[in-house]
């Protein structure tokens, strides 16, 4: 059975898995970007409280493997709290937390590293605060963070595979099930690899292109 034949025969299952993966991504990306940018900004403005707490969480999380976090949220935490949450939402929460912290770190670093002299140059040219923010700070920071944000989101898409470990019926889990029934690992996993390549490579390429074309050297050296 060829790759095409497998895809045709199991298209319903594969599409279902793909839909779950995309739903998961939509949640992780939306929360990650919205909450991450907000927290990153708040962490910059209120370094003492929010900034330091965020840094501590990021540091703590950097020492915990994703799979361990996922399992801990799925089994021990629910056992402690005596609750039963749908594994899809557990995975969404775990990966969203990782994404939020990653995005907030990117935003906070960009804000911290932003050269104050660009703002001063705006001030002495008579620009108002709002103009400086909208026409100088925001576009420069946006150009700086977009490539990193894109690559982070691609990594998050790849991390959704871990959701299969807590029985989320996403595309990898579906592929595993199909393989268990027909045992064609080369074709199935090759198809899966091509699927990820088709999504991830253009996004990574876009990140590189944006970085090359729109991220300017902020130093004057």
């Amino acid at each position: 059975m060829s790759v095409i034949e497998i895809i045709i025969k199991y298209h319903e299952g594969l599409l279902g898995g793909l839909l779950v993966t995309l739903k998961l991504c939509a949640i992780i990306w939306t929360f990650g970007i919205v909450a991450g940018i907000s927290l990153g900004y708040l962490g910059f403005r209120h370094k003492l409280w929010i900034g330091n707490i965020l840094s501590s969480f990021s540091f703590l999380l950097s020492g915990v493997p994703v799979l361990v976090l996922l399992f801990w949220l799925h089994y021990p935490l629910q056992e402690i709290l005596q609750i039963n949450i749908n594994p899809f939402f557990t995975a969404a929460v775990a990966l969203a937390i990782i994404n939020i912290l990653a995005v907030s770190d990117i935003v906070r670093d960009a804000l911290v590293e932003f050269p104050n002299e660009y703002i001063i140059a705006g001030q002495v040219c008579g620009l108002k605060k709002r103009q400086i923010y909208l026409q100088i700070q925001f576009p420069i920071i946006l150009r700086k963070i977009i490539p990193s944000l894109l690559t982070t989101q691609v990594s998050m898409l790849q991390l959704t595979l871990f959701a299969s470990m807590i029985s989320v019926e996403e595309i990898f889990k579906v592929a595993q099930r199909i393989n268990a029934s027909i045992y064609r690992p080369i074709e199935i996993y090759s198809a899966l690899a091509i699927f990820f390549l088709l999504i991830c490579l253009p996004l990574n390429g876009l990140a590189i292109w944006l970085k090359h074309n729109y991220t300017r050297n902020l130093s004057e050296k």
Partner: protein, 388 residues
């Protein structure tokens, strides 16, 4: 007028500016020089209100700022007072053109656009106007920063070592343009490490060291400074190793130099001479003097001379060719000093006649221009030389 009075500033408890007072008058160029760490840039940032001092007062026309002051919110002096920094901070996401036009706003009047085009042409910026700052050289970015400031038509322009990264040609262009802006009534304060720059166009020079103003005066006063060792050392260090200084000694070299110089000078040009004393110059020229005079008359080279004393030869020159010999007698109050000749080709020579005739040649148009200003000042207190 922009006036600062008794300004004091500390960084981490140690004073960096101590009781600084100075004025920037509209239509003048004030240049602050001094060694690194003298407090020049801090002073500039304070005048530009980017840093607030602990005490003192800054008056910009009718607006008074008495310090200590927590904030200047709502009373910002920009862009009436604007600054061009040593590190230029051209916004990296905009092209050079956009950098210059952003502060003007979206609705640019035709008059403003003409000003933009004129400045672009003056600074030869057309070739890189649509480049991003990371595609432009340091000198190009320097010009963009200056044009960005000029487009705002500031009343007071503060410049922080703006020629540091420019070649002589570009620096000269900027200097001449600053002179034009000055004539339009803009008060300019420049912090300069480059003394040439300060001496060439400044109306007033301020020498700072360790947060204190040591001396304030006309540019040439600094070149002649001998009383304050800190200033004279600073000036000497700045000129040390200059490839533009040559010394010629002995009668033969003296004569050959002058004959060669008169041949090189363009016809109809003028030599300004300060500090002539009687017939001292003619003696070492010896038999070559007649040859020199013939050449000078043939090329119609004018001598404008300020003399301490006059001899027979001066009287003869004025009598024979009054249009080529415009002589004045210096006031007796003026201290005797070296004989200085300033040529129209930017060469300045200092001469010693005894015991060995010696010429010190300085090829530096900027210094020559500074001494021309000195000539003009001395001329005001001199009397025309009349042949009896």
């Amino acid at each position: 007028m922009l006036q600062i009075e008794k300004i004091c500033k500390k960084f981490a408890g140690s004073p960096v500016l101590k009781n600084i007072s100075l004025d920037i008058k509209p239509g003048t160029i004030t240049c602050v020089i001094g060694p690194s760490g003298a407090g020049k840039t801090t002073l500039l940032r304070i005048i530009g209100m980017l840093e607030l001092p602990e005490s003192g007062r800054i008056t910009i026309d009718d607006e008074k700022y008495d310090f200590p002051l927590k904030s200047i919110a709502g009373r910002e002096p920009w862009p009436k007072t604007t600054i061009v920094f040593q590190q230029l901070f051209i916004w990296p996401h905009l092209t050079i053109r956009e950098n210059i036009l952003l502060p003007i706003g979206k609705n640019i009047s035709s008059e403003k656009y003409k000003q933009f085009e004129k400045l672009v042409a003056t600074f030869k910026m057309n070739s890189f106007l649509d480049r991003y700052p990371n595609q432009a050289s340091l000198g190009q970015k320097q010009r963009a920063a200056i044009v960005r400031a000029l487009m705002l038509n500031p009343k007071y322009l503060l410049l922080d070592e703006i020629t540091a990264s420019l070649d002589v040609q570009q620096a000269t262009k900027i200097l001449s343009h600053l002179s034009l802006i000055k004539e339009q009534g803009v008060g300019i304060l420049m912090v300069a490490h480059d003394i040439d720059f300060a001496l060439s166009i400044a109306d007033k020079v301020i020498f700072m060291d360790k947060g204190v103003i040591i001396k304030e005066g006309k540019p040439y006063e600094f070149l002649m400074e001998s009383e304050n060792s800190r200033i004279s050392k600073f000036i000497k260090d700045a000129f040390l190793g200059s490839p533009d200084i040559r010394i010629y000694t002995g009668v033969e070299e003296f004569q050959a130099y002058h004959l060669n110089l008169i041949k090189q000078l363009p016809a109809g040009s003028t030599a300004h001479i300060i500090g002539a004393v009687g017939d001292t110059w003619y003696t070492p020229m010896g038999e070559k003097y007649q040859e020199y005079v013939k050449l000078r008359i043939k090329k119609k080279i004018v001598w404008k001379m300020l003399m301490y004393e006059h001899g027979v030869e001066e009287a003869q020159l004025v009598k024979n060719n009054p249009e080529l010999n415009i002589f004045h007698v210096l006031s007796r109050d003026i201290k005797n000093m070296a004989n200085i000749n300033i040529m129209s080709n930017g060469i300045m020579i200092l001469q010693i006649f005894n015991p060995i005739p010696t010429i010190i040649e300085i090829k530096n148009p900027i210094i020559a221009k500074s001494y021309l200003n000195y000539y003009d000042d001395l001329l005001k207190s001199s009397k025309p030389f009349e042949v009896k």
